[in-house]
Symmetry: C2
Subunit: 234 residues, 2 copies
């Protein structure tokens, strides 16, 4: 008999706050009979419903599992993962046998990533998530299924993207200093950047506008504030 097939969506929500880049994880509710007792984290994800479009599914999943409603937020499909063995690990199978009707199905997953200012969102666990946590991107533990592969690909996508697109739109305060912008680039690229070269490059970017206004509440050399040009917003 042919293998049963199904599809899911998984969401990599990147959050930025006070110079730190984090990813939103859920703690999976594990069955009593589970082999391991340690906590087990996963990306928020679930099966796509019968008449549901993929984008709608990604929004629904985030709302159901983490109570996060990303209205008008940046939530983009970036890659689909279909390794035939991607849900066949021992603990994956234990979880699937407790929570899914057809644990033997081959599931391919369409992955989305999102960029949010952490202060705008207050995730609350629900459904088969027993907890939600913002995890520093450098400290992501072993995740369920192939979710480490998905997370790595999302971060690599972000690293490529920040070279050419104003993704800070979704992560920085409305008015920001060039130091804040440089730090965002450093955190995402994982590399320290030379201040002078960075500023030279930024001056050539059409979408970053310097303001007359300067930082407030800073005593020593307040820095000039900048905004993104809304016309370049994705």
């Amino acid at each position: 008999m042919a293998v049963q097939k199904d599809f899911s969506v998984d969401c990599v929500v990147f959050g930025y706050h006070e110079d730190e880049l984090k990813v939103l994880l859920i703690e999976q509710r594990m069955p009593e009979t589970s082999a391991g007792k340690e906590k087990r984290y996963a990306l928020p994800g679930d099966l796509v419903q019968d008449n549901e479009d993929l984008d709608d599914s990604a929004s629904r999943v985030l709302k159901e599992l983490t109570s996060v409603e990303l209205e008008n937020a940046y939530l983009k499909q970036f890659y689909t993962f279909g390794n035939p063995k991607r849900v066949k690990g021992l603990r994956d199978q234990q979880w699937l046998r407790s929570f899914r009707q057809d644990p033997d199905a081959r599931v391919i997953t369409v992955a989305y990533y999102s960029l949010v200012k952490m202060e705008d969102y207050n995730p609350v666990a629900a459904s088969f998530a027993s907890e939600t946590v913002w995890m520093n991107v450098d400290e992501v533990p072993a995740l369920a299924f192939d979710h480490n592969t998905i997370f790595d690909k999302a971060l690599a996508t972000l690293r490529e993207k920040i070279k050419y697109y104003p993704i800070g739109f979704h992560l920085l305060p409305k008015k920001f200093t060039l130091s804040q912008l440089q730090h965002l680039n450093e955190v995402i690229s994982g590399e320290e950047l030379d201040k002078r070269n960075f500023r030279r490059k930024v001056q050539k970017l059409p979408y970053i506008i310097p303001l007359e206004e300067k930082q407030k509440g800073v005593f020593h050399k307040p820095a000039r504030l900048h905004v993104y040009d809304e016309r370049f917003k994705e």
Copy 2:
């Protein structure tokens, strides 16, 4: 009962030859009972096999339907299409009822695009393709399923990509003139480019190397030849 689900891959193969950008289509073999008699084109695509990885599936499909073996070629996943109604058109259903075991299944498709020099490939129709054709990208007719949507997204992806990446690697001759490079950019972007601005930009690109060598067999002002820096090849 839950809807049956399945997944497929579809391939958008872009070919370039003598300043023209084309896409590889197959003519679908239609059942005798088909409502329409006119030819019906589709992107090369098929269901993913039970133990097959998605990338392998895309290569296999191209080989089976068009006899094109893209060894070491540029074949990249770019988007997944999952509209619940994407295979529900009248002629789509007629075709599915003749050629598929479960024509009512909901099928999501993982789409790939590829870039080839047309002279390197000689597609030959096989399996349920009754013909293969290189169609100019401006003259793509109404295709089966949601293949026009997939093609449009592939072309849009290419348009974004050529802004920042040396995709001409896969499309231009090994040694090329700046006129050839400009024309490639124009064909893909669908816009005429100013020669002087274009050359100024190209000079700043780290991956295009001018040679001492000039065009041969040209009597009037032979142009300088260029190559791509292999280190930047994707």
